[in-house]
Amino acid sequence: MTHSEMSRAKRHLETTAKMKEMLPRFFMRMMERRFSNEPLAWCMVGVPPELLKAFDLLFEWPENFGTMCASRLVAPRFIEVAEGDGYSPELCSYVTNTMGYCKLFKEKGEAPEESPLPGGMGTPAMLLGSGFICEPRWKWFQSVATRFFDVPVYSSDPLAPPWDIDPTDPRIEEHYLTLLREDLAGQIEFLEKQTGKNLDIDALREIMALSHQALAYWRDTLALRKAIPSPMGSTDYFHAIIPQMYLVGDQEAVDFYREMYEEVKDRVARGIGVVEEEKYRLIWFGLPPWFNMGIFNYLESLGAVFAYESTYNVGDYFEVDLSDPLEAMVRRTWQRALKMHEFGAEAMPELCNPAVFGGFVGSSLLEELTRDFSLTGAVMHLTRSCRAVSFGEVHTRNRFAKIGLPSLIFESDMADPRLWSDAQIKTRLHAFLETMDKAQKGGK
């Protein structure tokens, strides 16, 4: 790859453009608090942000930092430092990005100058991990605390039932719910100890209520993308997940997602699409190449729009009873597990806690998505360093073949641009569009 082959994303919505002001405002507020030495937690996706908010804790997401390092093309620098330290290039590039960053941070005593955020990820006072989704997560914070920051770690372990077990069997349900409840209790105990504060249940309830309002708008926005032409594409989608990580539980997030919903609804009403002539409607699987989000615009220039992305769909909204917010949190995790169980790798390998990967004979999710979003094809990004999200794509491709929907798997990575070969990938994308042309004309 050369850097000139990488292009930044162009977004289409006015609401996401507003994030340009909203996010820096948020980061400044965080920065001020960091400078006054408030404890900072590094967290993994899977740790409920609502809980962090209820403790009024400062937090940072190394995963998200990885995406930022990738989009500014500084990830290779950090990854190479980690590789020099013995980390294999096969390992998750978010993790190796963190490891290289931490090494430089420790050597310099401050954030390396390449860091995307002023002050980088700061100095953690604690690490909150989650085994949700993948195995590297178990090793990530373990090694951060072993090699760089000797701080307390709590990793939660939300196991989910495998595909061939009936999760509605009350005994099975209790088996898993017990673990989820005990795990959450452990997480809270840890946070209470580290912050010296007791969990304020009422505050948590309010935060959960706001968070669910925001997620409901998000869900409804995504459903609007069934419209032809699709009013919203992937560059907006992948950008708009950031407030879910940092601002969920704030009124600001509710306002943001409501505005987005209204804007997208208006676009539908006025028939405004992402591209003028929508020729192909696609579904995206896998993590995006954060260093080259312009690839989505490139496809748009050829008339191809993504109407659905399976990745980061974890923010789905579920009706839960908030009278007991802790039980609501457990139930939310469980309902997600049930949804994964129902659909799982059939359409969304990445939505699966690895424990649920499986066959799902009889699941009709792919058929439903194809019909409801009027899909003409599927594009899957096989990320070499993240098998958790991409392992299962061949299976999904097999399932699509049965439905008769053309699909393409192409290889690269989410954060490491060294794995991007521009000419080859574009050739394959072009060939794929031709395949869809033929399929649409009734050929095979």
């Binding site: 013995g86 980390y87 178990w138 090694s143 072993t146 990793s155 061939d164 690895p354 392992f391």
Partner: protein, 377 residues
């Protein structure tokens, strides 16, 4: 090149021998064979249910292309090999399959295998990643679900007494394995690393009594062995699964002796007895979960998690550690930098062999082994 090949993947291979043996045992006993990978789901319960537990292994270096129809190229090559063999019907002697959620790869193997090639019986044994009290309680409950599923399949009620009997039998073998390992602490061990490894491979296949006879025979042979040569550098082997003697033989050819190990099919399974508790399932929880040293289990941050390994290296007077990692093996590859640094601090040099489950190119691996062993000598 031809010479390299013979050293590298020499026949007969333990996997082939085991598979021949299990076919024979199945024909003789008429019992169903339950294949397993990783032993978080205790084989003792399988035996107590009237079935034969069989540890599934692969054939490193074999053609894995049959796996391409179901899986991505980026995945543990050992798992891809097992899947390719399953796709070709090479495990047709298996009536059932139990896979533990040990690492993500093995666990996904379960989904793909059972979807594309369903078996009369299959069970995914879910295992928490930590050994907290809540995790232990989950594991303990999982044992019950596993037992029930076996009972349903074999039609035989699994009594606690039967489980206790199986534990007792396997513990007898553990005592014999420990005796053999004791001999490896001597200046000139009476049993080589590859001989020991082949024995333990058989331990995943043979019924307890037959394995016991084999162990006893090996023990008397090892006790009688008189060492002729001068003492050699002593190696501890750590890493991803190994189901072929190739690396052990290469190390031996390079002039060292393997005295201890920390890999899946190694001392880890036999090191300690399963505690004989009032409720046998408590003993199984302690043995196969709480005390079972596998890097997939999170034992918290810090280097203390490797103390058991340093202690083992000291006990067996190892001069160095040779690590073996398979492509895309997250649990081991993530641990390597922390482990290497800790061993260095403890005065133990480490060499890492990164392999795609083929032991090729053998020449390059041998050169690195020789250089390392010379340095130790």
């Amino acid at each position: 090149m031809a010479a390299e090949k013979t050293l590298n993947l020499k026949k007969p291979r333990a996997t082939n021998l085991n598979e021949e043996a299990i076919r024979r045992i199945k024909a003789e006993t008429g019992k169903p064979v339950i294949g397993y990978l990783c032993c978080f789901a205790p084989p003792e319960i399988i035996s107590a249910a009237g079935a034969i537990p069989f540890r599934i292994t692969g054939l490193p270096g074999d053609d894995n292309s049959a796996a391409d129809a179901y899986t991505e190229p980026y995945g543990c090559t050992y798992v891809r090999n097992i899947l390719a063999r399953a796709a070709r019907g090479e495990y047709d002697f298996i009536d059932g399959l139990v896979i533990s959620h040990s690492c993500d790869m093995v666990q996904r193997l379960y989904g793909i295998w059972t979807y594309y090639h369903p078996l009369p019986y299959s069970y995914l044994f879910n295992v928490p990643h930590q050994v907290s009290l809540q995790a232990q309680r989950f594991y303990r409950r999982e044992l019950d679900f596993f037992r029930e599923s076996l009972e349903k399949f074999t039609g035989q009620v699994v009594t606690s007494e039967a489980v206790a009997v199986e534990i007792d039998l396997s513990n007898q073998n553990r005592a014999l394995v420990r005796k053999l390992y004791e001999l490896r602490k001597e200046k000139q061990p009476g049993i080589s690393g590859s001989e020991m490894f082949n024995l333990l491979m058989a331990g995943g296949t043979l019924p307890a009594a037959a394995f016991q006879a084999k162990l006893k025979e090996a023990l008397s042979k090892a006790e009688a062995a008189k060492a002729q040569e001068p003492a050699k550098p002593r190696i501890l082997v750590w890493g991803s699964i190994m189901d072929d003697t190739a690396l052990f033989r290469m190390i031996e050819e390079a002039g060292a002796v393997v005295v201890a190990d920390d890999t899946c099919i190694g001392f880890r399974v036999w090191e300690k007895d399963v505690p004989q508790s009032v409720d046998p399932y408590d003993g199984l929880t302690e043995h196969y979960f709480v005390n079972f040293q596998c890097p997939r289990t999170d034992r918290g941050p810090g280097s203390k998690r490797f103390d058991y390994l340093v202690e083992r290296a000291r006990e067996y007077k190892a001069n160095g550690v040779i690590g073996y990692v398979i492509s895309f093996c997250d649990p081991h590859k993530f641990d390597y930098p922390d482990l290497r640094d800790y061993l260095k601090k403890e005065g133990l040099p480490m060499l890492l062999i990164d392999d795609n489950y083929s032991f090729e190119p053998a020449g390059a691996i041998e050169t690195r082994l020789q250089a390392f062993i010379e340095m130790l000598g």
